[in-house]
């Protein structure tokens, strides 16, 4: 009989005498992954993780996706997690492998994405000796993760690895690092199944307090100008939470706005949806936020991009704030009814209370509120004029609109990732999302280079879906090496570059705040994206004028493989509407013609 365990058969209960078989730490780790239901990990090998890669080689249960840079591994795992609701898993080596992953970890921390990142480490006896490829990974990632571990004792390995998954996915989700010294993965280690006992100190609160929800619903029943303001917490609470949100919004008849992170929780094409709020939100969403008398914040965190000038944020409203994380409540804005709990549970309980409590909001007041909102809508703050002459220059908003319309014609399940900047805001404004988990964007950290690896992660999770990275030419170059990953795994990702040859959002701010001195914001020496695509075995396409746009989009969508579409758009286009930094929601700029009218305050200039 072969003494080495058959790793192709790593299902948790298959070894009746599992305790008798001596596994290496690496094999224990693989077993934990299988027990945790992990199907895919994103990683990059190196000296300190060779034992784990060797164990991976000898099994088929877990698929490894080889990225071209560790940052991309984390972004891909984030998108995998966001588009499936599962934990994204990363495996990188020590030293530079771990430090390269840090941006991705902070990105996942800011956007509350469940990720477990295993990092290699030099052997325990070498720790602290400045060994080759040694970095203090737990020290470096302490503030970059929800929690992290250094496994120094083989007996802890299985428990810690299981616990990492529990912490990553429960409560407010986030990234967890498990640092694995090489002697731990090489040497023998005992396997232990995931513990069913509650964690001794970590006990996130899921179930909201009934009393708080009762008070919230009582205020909602008295509301004359109510508004739902929903965020990524609703998405993180699972598809059933989004479904419940739809019922709550329809049942109450209230308007609903969403943060960037929350798009898709409530269908953005529905009449009760006002569009995104905040810096580049719609006029009606921001004016409604400013003018409402009851604001119901669900799984949102009053980010500065949402609130604008704080002392003028929704000044007359009674504020209800539900969040799974107690530290988010009263952090930025003092609220009247705090509710700690899972957004889905809060929404379900609100629905119950809505039926249980007598009375209903004054229908005349609500009708008046809707008339007011319709008047704001009449401003058409997202409107743009596209010259439809075939030779006309493509406006980026038009490109996103056409992309959306033609993608819908395919009838395919569609996932959109973005990079960061103007194109991201245009995508948020003009692409529509009627279901959760289909919009993958770096919200909190604002990581340029997120979208391309995110598209990789989404396509791996959904091989038959249409996955589009709406990109800018500057951002996409930050992780362009992932075209290699796309080629290796034959991922039919569509990279739709709105190429204006500028770091557009930087240029827009320089225009507004720094006298149009475009310091270093020009994308000089750009590659030829068509030939770049071809060199990575993808299809390159280009549209330079309106007459070419639809054909290029159609060809891109019809292409069975990966495409890089270089969409040459108006260079001087700015993203509107916009609340300039330091301004209030009712001081929006609707278009360039208003730029001169608003003086950004000295305080505003200091804000990011």
């Amino acid at each position: 009989m072969n003494a080495t365990p058959n790793l192709n058969d790593l299902k948790p209960n298959t070894h009746a005498h599992g305790a008798d078989i001596v596994l290496s730490g690496a094999e224990v780790l693989l077993r934990v992954l299988v027990e945790q239901g992990v199907e895919v990990i994103f990683g990059y090998p190196g000296g300190a993780v060779l034992p784990i890669y060797d164990a991976l080689f000898r099994q088929n249960a877990v698929r490894h996706i080889l990225v071209r840079h560790e940052q991309a591994a984390v972004h891909a795992a984030e998108a995998y997690a966001r588009s499936t609701g599962k934990v994204g898993v990363v495996l990188v080596t020590s030293g530079p492998g771990a430090t390269n992953a840090v941006t991705g970890l902070v990105d996942a921390l800011m956007d509350s994405i469940p990720v477990v990142c295993f990092t290699g480490q030099v052997g325990v006896p070498l720790i602290g000796t400045d060994a080759f490829q040694e970095a203090d990974t737990t020290g470096i990632t302490r503030q970059a993760t929800k929690h992290n571990y250094l496994v120094k004792n083989p007996a802890d390995l299985a428990r810690v690895a299981h616990e990492a998954f529990h912490i990553a996915r429960s409560g407010r989700p986030g990234p967890v690092v498990v640092d694995l010294p090489k002697n731990i993965t090489v040497g023998p280690a005992p396997y232990a199944p995931a513990s069913r006992a509650p964690h001794p100190s970590y006990r996130p609160r899921i179930e909201p307090e009934r009393e708080a929800v009762v008070r919230a619903v009582a205020a909602m029943k008295r509301a004359r100008r109510p508004l739902f303001y929903t965020g990524g917490g609703v998405i993180n609470a699972g598809p059933q939470a989004s479904e419940a949100l739809g019922r709550l919004v329809r049942r109450t008849g209230f308007p609903c706005t969403s943060t960037l992170m929350g798009l898709g929780a409530y269908p953005t094409t529905d009449g009760q949806f006002l569009g995104m709020l905040g810096m580049h939100g719609t006029y009606e969403a921001n004016l409604a936020t400013h003018g409402c008398d009851v604001l119901v914040a669900l799984g949102a965190r009053f980010d500065d991009r949402v609130t604008g000038r704080l002392d003028a944020f929704s000044p007359d409203s009674f504020k209800i704030h539900a969040d799974i994380e107690p530290s988010q409540i009263n952090k930025i804005v003092q609220v009247d009814v705090p509710i700690v709990g899972d957004a889905g549970r809060v929404i379900e309980m609100m629905l119950e209370e809505w039926e249980r409590q007598d009375g209903a909001p004054d229908p005349a007041a609500l009708a008046q509120w809707w008339r007011q909102i319709e008047a704001w809508r009449g401003i058409r703050s997202l409107h743009f004029d596209q010259d439809m002459a075939p030779s006309a220059i493509i406006r980026p908003q038009h490109a996103v609109r056409r992309l959306y319309e033609l993608a819908m014609e395919t009838g395919r399940d569609t996932f959109v990732s973005t990079e960061v900047g103007q194109h991201q805001m245009w995508a948020a404004q003009h692409f529509q999302f009627d279901r959760p988990n289909r919009w993958l964007t770096s919200g909190g950290l604002g990581t340029m280079g997120y979208g391309l690896p995110a598209a990789v992660g989404a396509q791996i999770a959904h091989p038959d879906a249409l996955v589009i990275d709406i990109a800018g030419e500057a951002s996409t170059l930050m992780n362009i090496q992932e075209l290699g990953t796309i080629a290796q795994y034959r991922l039919p990702v569509k990279i739709f570059i709105l190429n204006n040859q500028y770091m557009g959002m930087v240029r827009q701010w320089q225009e507004l705040l720094h006298g149009s001195r475009y310091s270093e914001s020009y994308s000089a020496a750009l590659p030829d994206f068509v030939r770049l695509a071809e060199s990575f075995h993808a299809k390159g396409m280009r549209a330079t004028c309106v007459g070419e746009l639809d054909d290029v989009i159609r060809a891109m969508l019809a292409e069975p493989g990966a495409v890089v579409a270089d969409i040459c758009v108006a260079q001087d286009e700015n993203c509107y509407p916009m609340i300039p930094s330091g301004a209030a929601h009712n001081q929006m700029l609707l278009g360039p013609e208003q730029e001169g009218e608003v003086k950004v305050s000295a305080e505003g200039r200091m804000l990011v």
Binding site: G139, R142, H147, L150, I167, S201, I329, N330, D336
Partner: protein, 171 residues
């Protein structure tokens, strides 16, 4: 909307943590990363059998900031409990100082006299120096040290505050 209270208050935060490597760094890193003050800090194992340590932090900020500190500390995975003793109610907060006074003649006699008044113990004595050990509230230690200043105060070592709720309640 509730108006924000801008007054700065002092608070004694007691934190019961899992006694594991890096836990103090997590707490301190959170304070520095989010710009909270640490005026004093003590930490020691308190429950050897359960691997628990207690961290006491004296901090200051607006009531809203103090609430945030509690909530943010509470987020940390190895934290069992966190309490703002100032808010919980009556509590005992004590620290210890070792105070070295180097002097002779009149000043030396005066230092010893004041030490007696403060119930400080001379734990080390040479012909030219004393090391006084003094336990008490922070302001008592402050005034003792102030009084020693003209009398040859040479060096001070303080522990920072350890605190506990009065009466039968626990955090």
């Amino acid at each position: 909307m509730t108006m924000q209270d801008e007054t700065i208050v002092s608070a004694v935060i007691s934190i019961l943590v899992e006694n594991e490597s890096g836990v103090l760094a997590r707490v301190i890193g959170l304070f520095s990363g989010r710009g909270y003050n640490i005026e004093s800090l003590t930490v020691a194992p308190v429950e050897q059998s359960r691997h628990q340590s207690r961290i006491n932090i004296v901090t200051s900020g607006t009531p809203q900031v103090i609430e945030q500190i509690k909530a943010q500390v509470g987020r940390l995975v190895p934290v069992y409990r966190v309490a703002d003793l100032t808010q919980v109610g009556p509590h005992v907060a004590r620290e210890m100082a070792l105070v070295k006074v180097v002097s002779t003649g009149e000043a030396r006699t005066e230092a010893l006299r004041i030490a007696e008044a403060f119930r400080a113990r001379a734990v080390d004595t040479t012909a030219t120096s004393f090391v006084f050990e003094l336990t008490g509230a922070t302001d008592k230690l402050d005034s003792f040290i102030d009084l020693m200043r003209p009398l040859g105060l040479a060096e001070v070592s303080r522990t920072g505050v350890a605190a506990i709720i009065r009466g039968p309640r626990t955090i």
